[in-house]
Assembly symmetry: D2
Homo-oligomer: 352 residues x 4
């Protein structure tokens, strides 16, 4: 299967990312949804909303849960969201002692948005680590080649000579700033979503706040005053950040491809790509892919902003659009950072 | 695996399409690339550019070809394109009698763009068939409910009553026009790409035109005067058409979701989606997904237009961007047409 | 005034277009709206829906109509559309003999969409003429420089030498195809819009068809079987075409900028732009602007596709979005064609 | 003139904003460019790079400067940027005592990017003030109608009743968060740009830092360690923020339009828009425009992200694209905030 280049048998060599794609697997999603239901039951038991035996039965059901994937697929087709069928299967697994307490007071969006928050925590850590890696690679490049004289170009024409360091800094500084921007992105995204049917936690009564606090602690997420089902700014802030990162790397990519042109030769690429028709060529494949991924995210980010127009208390249309765009943007960012390390490690500035 | 909702274990129930995703599998791509190389060798033998034994050996190698997927992936990582490694493997399969004649005079882009043309022929036939199906569904709906009086709404306010037929026509007419537009899209896309290293078929000498003609005939594609490696209008014309189709269905989706609102009740949905928190609800899931898919394609189409800025004789950056966007747009269109049939079959206009 | 670069006191030198911007002036719009109301009254008189004296009074009111711009602005603020206030002012100008017959049976969208169709007829003729001009410029370039040997570049690396003609053809062919595509775009766009409140011409009774035919003839537009208020495919088809044109010219722009690089020097630019810091530079300003305009239209085209999700019988939200995007896309296309002529006239391929 | 709805004689009633459009006038730009050149000369005189008499002559020339607009337009056409011709005119105005010291060590991008920073300072203050106004309007609405029972809707179906406060909060919270996000946006944008030809301030020698500091102080901008000519993240961060703001208001707009539907009637709109065909209607014009402006910015933001791929030390193509998109996004945001106040002031929740 291979509509997605990120998971395609051969295109994934160029564009894929195994560590990140694992986080978007159905398995990882299911595991995070189970964690949500387990933490919910535990917190509700602690706060007296469901009996301890119920929570215990739920914990048992979760431990041994085996999904019926076909029915999950069928349920998603019908309901537009996997949760009703997932809850039905989980209830069956939990059995009579706890089934009626499963998912008590929660709604589909609570489960799905929280599952994403849990997995994005890991994804953002991976991206952060890779940013540090690229920064280190650039530092190394600067230490070795920073004083090589290279030609500055403005408006596609040679301007005046500058040290390579000037160019490297124009790649490093945005990456550094984007790394600093990550903290606010994380803080906004890594929160527990728990609102119930209409975002008011109506079934939990006055215990709502306590349950939220306990669940958030158990899941390692922050607690927010009220659910943000229909307020999607935190999701778009993440998407914007992803595209900022790839955009900065795309700038590096185009600079390298230009400097490595046959006629310019200010950058030499080791291990460039070959051609089926012209074996002598050394193509700046990695640099080009950085441009591709930048333009890809710059395209998709528009749809994320469109999804801010999220009608009423939950929009099936706008919410589903996020599912179709955001995971790809994360993947593209991961791939770009991975590729950036490879590219930076493979180039050398050439004294003119 | 499941970054892509089109192939996700459960989201594909809502957004996927097996018939179309098969056309974007690596297997289907490989099969089409082999067809290209086979037709190329046959035509070159016929036109005296390679010996008949060479073509025979190539045909034999193709018949028994077993790809080494891992190496194809590694080659794509290195070269940015699968073809150099694919040709290497094919040469090995062909053996000494023909290996040097494999891929003679062609370039990577010839293989890949032609493989896509071959598979899009099938994809467009599937889409065409589904359009006819949706049109028939709408005709049936019109025949049954067309005279039901329904309220026209302008600027989100009730205007004057109109027959349901008026509304149905506003869904049917664009679909009909889009079906008519398909012919020109097909004609531009279903062509043989054969240009060699720089689009001039330099290695084929005066036989270039004859080889092109013979190959095109064998593959069921049209022949064009010269290769269009860097001229991407035909690709964008396809993308535009895909988004026109989903846009028209998205309009139907939003209309149905609005008419099916609890407070409006002018359309009743059978088999609507359920909720995990409110079992009584009948959600217009299919109608919402039509809106999602329209907005998805409307987002991606922008990147396709960006890729028209395709520098020089082949742009790794712009071309790879097409690979990341176009297959998804085809999938989204297929899913929307499939869903549209389901939705139209499930609704009834209600006399007020 | 100058939010818009197209009409900015100095940026318009680079990006503007006086012939086209005149068509988007409020004056031109008003003139076309008056033509609509005049033709409507004449046709309704002919078909017996309003008395001949009414039509005569309307013709007189139109002839002497002086808009109160401030009130038109205020009316647009209030109604979201200029027509109710415009009709009020027109009625006052027509006076007691015809005021009640003004705008009979029509709705705001009829007036505005038809006004746009009328003006786009002129705009598309201008664009068509410029395409022919650029094609002629390219023919001249090909005649003079076509046999100059130039280097083909694939993936940003020198590949093999080709005649300049090869490169020129990759600019000329898409432009030629886009010129051929214009006929279908015109045909879909240059139609009369007349549907009345809900698109059913309910007030015109059985004379609706005749009135439409007569009006369309008078205005030089085609007549369509029923109004397309909420079916926006023809608008998006136009937008797609505009972006195809600028995309093809953007490809030419990036090619020229790359070939004119100081280190490459395969193209020499006469009259390139100067720099405030480095007076010696010859910047490929026109070529860069072609890229800018391509990316601009590639950006805006997405919003046009989003506006296909046009809810109910008239969407204030989606329709207004068209007004914000389409005129700019026309302007950008006009500016790109104008600039393309200038650029092509200013370059020469240099024998290596 | 009126390609731009923001400055159109009647559309500006709906979509325009006089306070903000003044900041994007050529006059305001010129004034800011003069401020740049004045501050540069003063700082350079203080730091011993140019003689005090030179700075005095420049100050005199600036005080009496009268632009030749036609030549500025012609210069922009030629150079792609107004600065070379602007500097030429300024030199002429300064006269022999200082002309050679005008613009010393600076480059076009320094002037233009700093001019934008200066004007965005004012624009962001206006937007901030309007956000506070809308928040106050929402507080007032909440105080009056917050306890009215209204129906929550999920997936376009009635869910459970909630207090209107719940809905108001889903409009207020994102606006509040966006207001908080403004501080970081301001900090990144309101900086002095001074880098010289290639961003290294090569002509200022060791005084470069001091000149930057003095200029920044004089202009009320922050100083940054080195020029960011080709690092555009701060520009895109601003664009993202603008679209976040309009997106949140678009969500409010769609909610209001839905709740005000004839069949729902949970919100009543005072002063809604009228129709030319159906005088009885009360159209939610302002609410619809909020959706339009959200989708407009969500469209344009994509092009801003594309412009991150800013090649080399200055890209004419990518930089010019910013000029075509960013001012419009600011205008759309200003218009949305203005309209939001009007809309919030005009609605009332109706007890069911």
């Amino acid at each position: 299967m291979s509509v997605s280049p990120f998971e395609h048998p051969f295109l994934s060599g160029l564009l894929g990312d195994e560590a990140l794609s694992a986080l978007f697997s159905a398995d990882a999603d299911l595991k995070a949804m189970l964690a949500f239901e387990g933490a919910l039951a535990a917190a509700e038991a602690k706060d007296g909303l469901i009996p301890p035996e119920g929570a215990a039965a739920i914990a048992g059901g979760i431990a041994s849960f085996e999904p019926d994937w076909l029915q999950l697929r069928e349920g998603t087709r019908r309901d537009g969201v996997v949760v009703p069928e997932f809850v039905r299967q989980l209830r069956a697994a939990v059995g009579p002692d706890g089934e009626k307490h499963v998912h008590f007071g929660a709604t589909s969006q609570d489960v799905i948005d929280t599952s994403l928050a849990l997995r994005m925590g890991e994804a953002l850590s991976i991206l952060h680590e890779r940013m540090e890696r690229v920064l280190a690679d650039l530092d190394q490049l600067a230490a070795r080649d920073g004083q090589v004289e290279t030609m500055a170009h403005t408006r596609m024409q040679a301007a005046i000579p500058v040290p390579a360091l000037r160019k490297i800094e124009s790649w490093r500084q945005p990456l550094l700033r984007n790394k600093e921007r990550l903290a606010a992105v994380r803080e906004g995204f890594l929160v527990l979503h728990l609102g119930g049917a209409a975002g008011t936690l109506d079934k939990l009564g006055k215990e709502g706040r306590a349950v939220s606090k306990d669940m958030a602690d158990a899941l390692g997420l922050a607690v927010i005053p009220h659910a943000r089902h229909s307020e999607r700014d935190h999701v778009v802030v993440l998407a914007d950040w992803l595209s900022l990162v790839t955009g900065g790397l795309g700038k590096m990519g185009v600079d390298i491809a230009l400097a490595a042109q046959s006629e310019v030769g200010e950058i030499r690429i080791k291990n460039g790509g070959g051609s089926s028709a012209m074996p002598h060529k050394v193509n700046p494949v990695g640099a080009e892919v950085l441009v591709t991924l930048a333009r890809f995210n710059a395209t998709l980010v528009s749809g994320m902003h469109q999804s801010l127009v999220h009608e009423n208390e939950r929009s099936g249309a706008a919410w589903t659009l996020e599912w179709m765009l955001l995971p790809q943007m994360v993947m593209a960012t991961g791939a770009a950072l991975r590729m950036a390390s490879e590219v930076v490690g493979n180039i050398a500035f050439i004294q003119r």
